[in-house]
């Protein structure tokens, strides 16, 4: 019998359970504290608010949008650098 006992799921292990009614109450208490209903993914409270929103919307869903954001960001930054270093000097006049 002992061999079949190990095969029967679930094999619950709660520390401090000695058996009987106390063990059952402890088990009920453990399960009553678990979240119920469908899985709700929320922004981790430790994250900064702006990054948390970004994480929730794009990273969590493995969206391809961050790729576009990087391209746009690098493009804007590059234009700003290029404008300051080259473009404003070439405005309406040829290169020297």
């Amino acid at each position: 019998m002992s061999s079949t006992k190990s095969l029967i799921p679930p094999k619950l292990s709660v520390s401090g359970i000695t058996g009987g009614a106390a063990a059952f109450a402890q088990l009920c208490d453990l399960y009553s504290k678990l979240p119920k209903g469908p899985l709700v993914e929320s922004i981790p409270p430790t994250m900064p608010r702006l990054f948390g929103r970004y994480w929730y919307r794009y990273i969590r869903t493995s969206s391809p949008a961050p790729l576009l954001h990087i391209i746009l960001g690098v493009g804007l930054m590059s234009y700003a650098i290029d404008y300051e270093l080259h473009l404003k000097h070439h405005k309406n006049r040829p290169h020297h």
Binding site: R60, S62, G75, I81, H86, H90, N92, P94, H95
Partner: protein, 255 residues
Amino acid sequence: MLCILNNPLEQFEIIKLLGIDAPLLPLIELPLTNLGLYLLIVLGVVISGLVISFIPARIGRDNSWLVTLESIYGFLVNLVDSQVAIAGHIYIPAIIALFSFILLCNLFGLIPYSYTVTAQFALTLGLSFTVLLGVTILGLQRHGVHFFSILVPAGTPLVLVPLLVVIEAISYLARAISLGVRLSANMISGHVLLKIISTFSWQFITGSILGVILGFLPVLFLTALYALELGVAILQAYVFVLLTASYLNDVLSLH
């Protein structure tokens, strides 16, 4: 009509953006150039991309990023398998790092107004010399003095050995130059062509009423050229790691 033509090589200039003077160390300053800035961006994107790609899987969601990364990994494993005969798998991390770095540098260079770091010979030759130095050290460590048999092809008549050793030594060392120059030359030529065509397209479109009507033609051509450059950017990263794997195989199996 005033024709404004910017120097197409101007885009490859290395410009100091920020600089820290170090008066305690004479004649030394620590500048941040546009080259350094884009290298830092590529480094940041590679590391954050790798870290972020694992997040959706950890919370039990579908993860298209990880699938993409695994596809690239599988592709590079196949490449190493086909090129390196003896125990090539331990070099896969190095090949992946090299491929992702070169690929992202090439692709970032295609963003309008950005800077192509792989168009700098200093960077690509630095990479290629490092690769050759690395595989040579590996070969010496693995085979000792016997490593120099790589300079004598099998079945060479004894009379020709001195001559062939010189030729093979030059050919072996030339790999470092060809590997770096190939990448830079491809990047420079592509970007110069894009710059010239786009400048002339703009002149054509804004020059006359005919240009406004037929302006879509140079734009179409420019789009096709841009797609070609996208292909070249991916292909050159692939060629670089393919040849690295091939050199690795040469020093490991000595032929």
